[in-house]
């Protein structure tokens, strides 16, 4: 098994863009070659500062990421971006539009932008997003920014993925309190009011300030005090301060051991998730092998037995083989 590295993995680690891009594709498509490459990439990960950008649709996340990329490039860092857009629940297709706003960086060899469809993962970030982050990390990008859709579970998932989670809000989206999901107040590391030149920005800032004041501690017990920043992404205003805050947060994490801890927790989550999927797959195979499966399916169909009892019957017979 061991021996030569998966060739594309070696190229990706050497920073070859086409190779990294293809690996992400394999991982996204569930191609088994992706797994093999990931094994080789994994030891080369853990260096990038992973930044999550989340907030409701219409908050101007793409524009903010565009401005962030520009500022990080000013500071000489190489930046990877993963932008997730919803896939159509009907066709499975998607128009992935986040990139459009960042396209001025397309000629910059120090920037890698990848658009991803949610591909049915409406409930949260897909594993492919986690995997793509690993690839960009291994390729040597100093910053890897993930822009979420800002719907459903993905806002909370990003917290488990990123070192620093930036929660973006804007004035005028209606009930401000509603706009921040339960749990995000605690989990956010940096809070941003975008489009701060709009009417109502002061009110949004005041509300957030109050909420931050009342918020309970980060679940990890971290004593970081999340800053609240006003920015106008379209004009780049406040973006330098945001990057300062991100840098500050990164050094805070390094000093407190949180940088590794958060990564560790991320790997731990990933590991548990993979374990769950793998175990379930093996158990399913066993369950489907049971001779009485056909009879049980028929019994459920004809309502002689309820689905819960039928499943219990089979689960009780499964034994983990040594």
């Amino acid at each position: 098994m061991s021996g030569a590295m998966q060739p594309l993995a070696a190229e990706a680690i050497a920073g070859k863009v086409a190779a990294g891009a293809r690996l992400i594709r394999w991982l996204e498509d569930g191609d088994p070659r992706g797994r093999a490459a990931l094994r080789d990439l994994y030891p080369h990960t853990g260096r990038a500062h992973l930044i999550g950008i989340t907030g409701p649709p219409g908050a101007g996340k793409s524009t903010l990421v565009d401005a962030l990329v520009a500022e990080e490039r000013q500071r000489g860092r190489r930046v990877g971006v993963i932008a997730v857009d919803p896939s159509s629940p009907f066709s499975g297709g998607a128009i992935l539009g986040d990139r459009l706003r960042m396209q001025r960086h397309a000629a910059d060899e120090g920037v890698f932008i990848r658009s991803m469809g949610s591909r049915g993962q409406l409930g949260g970030l897909s594993r492919a997003t986690f995997d793509a982050v690993l690839v960009l990390d291994a390729m040597g990008y100093d910053r890897v920014i993930v822009e979420t859709m800002g719907v459903g579970q993905d806002e909370l998932d990003i917290v488990g993925l990123a070192h620093s989670t930036v929660i973006v809000n804007v004035p005028g989206l209606g009930d401000e309190i509603q706009a921040i999901k339960a749990g995000l107040m605690e989990a956010g590391d940096i809070f941003v009011v975008n489009k701060a030149d709009r009417d109502g920005a002061d009110q949004t800032l005041r509300q957030l300030e109050l909420m931050l004041h009342l918020r309970t501690r980060h679940p990890s017990g971290d004593d970081w005090q999340p800053p609240l920043l006003a920015v106008v992404s379209t004009r780049g205003e406040g973006i330098a301060a945001l990057v300062d805050a991100l840098d500050h947060h990164a050094s805070h994490l390094h000093d407190s051991g949180g940088f590794e801890a958060r990564l560790g927790s991320r790997s731990h989550h990933l590991f548990l998730g993979l374990l769950r999927d793998g175990a379930a797959r093996r158990l399913m195979e066993q369950a489907l092998d049971q001779p009485e499966i056909a009879a049980l399916v028929e019994a459920v169909r004809s309502r002689r037995i309820d689905p819960y009892s039928a499943a219990d019957t089979l689960v009780a017979r499964i034994h983990l083989q040594p």
Binding site: A19, R22, D29, G92, G93, A106, F112
Partner: protein
């Protein structure tokens, strides 16, 4: 069951800003289950090539309704080759005179769709190509 949608980059090169055709095709490809990325307007061949590589699309479709196509289309094809994107399906569409078509095809474009081409024809062309790739892939 992993989903493996075909990924398509739609690009506008140069200063031509006509987008009706691109809009219609983008929506049609999405409804045919493809993932579509649009570059936006005023792109250079370098920007489009980098985008196609980073996004690892299967297909690059270039819409051209201006005069620059004889410079820009071959340059994009060449850049894609150089940057490791030579396996992508390249197609062009828009207003491309018949006398320029041989040179465009020779540069690596598999098909030139004329203005107003039926989106179903475009979808079938892409799907057929993709199916052939799948069967010949290792």
């Amino acid at each position: 069951m992993p989903q493996r949608p075909i990924r398509v980059l739609l690009a506008k090169l140069g200063l031509d800003t006509h987008t009706v055709g691109v809009t219609v095709i983008a929506h049609a490809l999405r409804d045919a289950g493809m993932e579509v990325i649009f570059t936006g307007l005023k792109q250079t061949p370098e920007m489009v090539a980098n985008t196609a590589i980073q996004e690892d699309v299967d297909v690059v479709g270039v819409s051209s309704l201006s005069a620059g196509h004889m410079r820009n289309l071959p340059r994009l094809a060449k850049l894609l080759q150089e940057k490791g994107g030579g396996d992508k399906l390249l197609v062009a569409g828009g207003v491309i005179p018949e006398q320029d078509a041989p040179a465009i095809r020779a540069a690596g474009y598999a098909h030139i769709f004329t203005m107003g081409a039926d989106t179903r024809e475009i979808i079938t062309f892409i799907q057929d190509w993709h199916a052939r790739q799948e069967t010949t892939a290792p």
